[in-house]
Symmetry: C2
Subunit: 450 residues, 2 copies
Amino acid sequence: MSEHTRQLTAFLADLAYEDVPEAVLARTEDLFLDWLGSALASQGSHPIPLFERYAQKMGPASGPANILVNGSRSSAYFAALVNGASSHLVEQDDLHNSSVLHPATVVFPAVLAAAQDRGKSGRALLLAALAGYEAGIRVGEFMGRSHYRIFHTTATVGTLAAAVAVGKLLEFDQEQFVNLLGNAGTQAAGLWEFLRDAADSKQLHTAKAAADGLLAAYLTEDGLTGARNILEGEQGIAAGMSSDADPSKLSDRLGSRWALVETSFKFHASCRHTHPAADALLQLMQREGLSHEQIEQVTTRVHQSAIDVLGRVVVPQTVHQAKFSMGTVLGLIAVHGKAQLTEFHTLALTDPNVSAFREKVSMQLDPEVDGAYPARWLGRVEVTTTDGRRLAAAIDEPKGDPGNTLSRPELEDKFRRLLAFAGARSPEQADELIALVWRLRELDDLGVLA
Amino acid sequence: MSEHTRQLTAFLADLAYEDVPEAVLARTEDLFLDWLGSALASQGSHPIPLFERYAQKMGPASGPANILVNGSRSSAYFAALVNGASSHLVEQDDLHNSSVLHPATVVFPAVLAAAQDRGKSGRALLLAALAGYEAGIRVGEFMGRSHYRIFHTTATVGTLAAAVAVGKLLEFDQEQFVNLLGNAGTQAAGLWEFLRDAADSKQLHTAKAAADGLLAAYLTEDGLTGARNILEGEQGIAAGMSSDADPSKLSDRLGSRWALVETSFKFHASCRHTHPAADALLQLMQREGLSHEQIEQVTTRVHQSAIDVLGRVVVPQTVHQAKFSMGTVLGLIAVHGKAQLTEFHTLALTDPNVSAFREKVSMQLDPEVDGAYPARWLGRVEVTTTDGRRLAAAIDEPKGDPGNTLSRPELEDKFRRLLAFAGARSPEQADELIALVWRLRELDDLGVLA
């Protein structure tokens, strides 16, 4: 195996709870709560019931692991599958910028299911999730922008992130991590093609990444060997699915850089690529005291991936597509001041003011923004007013980014809103879950997290 | 969607049992028997028990579908998974040349499991398997040689082949097939990197292709939408994993060309890339009356993929690696006259004559052979004898290829040998299974195939 893979797997094997700074543990709890809210918020929404029915058809009638959206129990595999589908649906789960990976939606479904299956503690879960984040983010950075142009990194690299988390939970040594990366990497799959049809693949992707990662870890534990150089080998994932892979990313500051804390929380309920422009527009409108009627035209100056991912959607036909429509997101911001789940579900497709505003919005590639991406997601908008003024605004760190993060009260508020939106739990149950998560590292039995 | 995808999905939806020529149906039965023997022959061999245990851990305690190697029953998903792992292990399953796809090991596990689950007849299974072969082979040809250089086509394209077979069994219309291709294609995964480590990924690949294809079909039936242009789209499988894709292959002579009958049976128990040279060497030694001691040197003139796949193995450490060692295969042929399972397991790693012969063998890229590949797998060997003669032999169609196929008695003999090798079934049981397969199109209940 290569030196970078050797360093990464040694780090994963050696990582101990005692070595993790308190702030990193606390942020892992934050991310867990944020994830749990996203998973529960999808209750009843298409296509989640399809995954629930599939688990009923193919899985055992009961088991050690919770399927969150319906409170049923199954084997760890199906809990990972359904919870993985659930937690990415409302587009409110976290994102790591420079890897363009959504770690929570693949790491937590797998590691919670495995922890419930194997009777592991909250501390073990936190440490394992951290390992999944640290590995997944570095592999995502390693795979580069060329990968993300065609592949849904959260699906492909997500399989490895989920696998590493479960492997850490199962206390793998370095040799097992080497095989695990091989077994997970060779299952890495997921293409962006579905976006232009507003198809359901995103849920399939995260479901499969979580479940396949768990499968890789269980089979590796039982002795299945994998390619020893799946990341950097001549017929490995970078050789097959990247043209700008950078192996040094794999071992970047292991043990001193905690990539998990660089992960952003989502504030708006839309594709993260819309957030910098949304925040910049909001700032500009507040600064200038503008209403949406006073705006003639908006040019968002964006990075190339924003155009690749969002450029497909001209007139959104579904709520999901609306979340990938820059014009719709900015329309909600301009007309209603926010673009949360409620706005998407009640206004995004039906409010004529929003559609009218959508037509005023265009995207333009900006070399500075593109150069900073994906390490930094800069927001730049240029506005022409109806009275002929040309205004501009810039934000360097969108709301939810590490330097502009959500506090625990803000996270609790978001959690309650997510659960209320879906009618998933009562306000009292929401508060109980919040309290449980803030005590995660004291819990010996994770079966209570249902 | 593109015109080729439209034609392919229309063909799949319209394909009717009555339209299939008798010879094609009969060959489908031949391929089914050949597959069943390969699956049963893996009983007890690593890593198959790992998949059996995984199915026990994660699946239901019983179910409608048979896990062949242990006679247990589970849900269709786990039967497809374990049987998919099983049937590629002994490297005796079929191969379609120009697509470099092993269709049986992905199509039959999925379609048999689904047929048992849904109470479908033998006729329905044959038609569905045929659809899987026709689609899978064309998608494999479409993806081209650049894909196979890094990706294990039987894993990637195999997911689509398995999905189409199950979709046909579930009587999908064209619209469902469009979504099915999207749902299967976005799960397509599998890298060759494992080969150089002799890792267990091949079993993981075929297991997952069969099971993921089945999952795609069941979810599509229930309403999961997929990308409508996964094959040819700008962010589809060819865009991501091929540089020489040829869309016209997707609709190549649909309804008049039956690609299934082009599929080759394996005669030697090794990687198919070794077979042309093995047959050519055997012919040369018989023609010249040579023994292995009289041979000083063998140059096999091969296509590039043979070098890519076989070139990693210098001194094989495992039986599986020996099957990917051109020198070992030719050594068994030269010293023992055959390279069947028994020779691999008793002689390939231990017979000093075989290892000595291995050292005499080299591979050399041959423009003519490479140009004909993958449509034709030409065998060319040049031999230098110890007394200084330079001899050559050429075969244009290795044993088992469509123009040099195995007869039913030869297939029955192979089936009995495979079962006897593994001790999987008694000779009487083997004969009963053979009789059942030859009556497949009369069977209403496929639960008897256990």
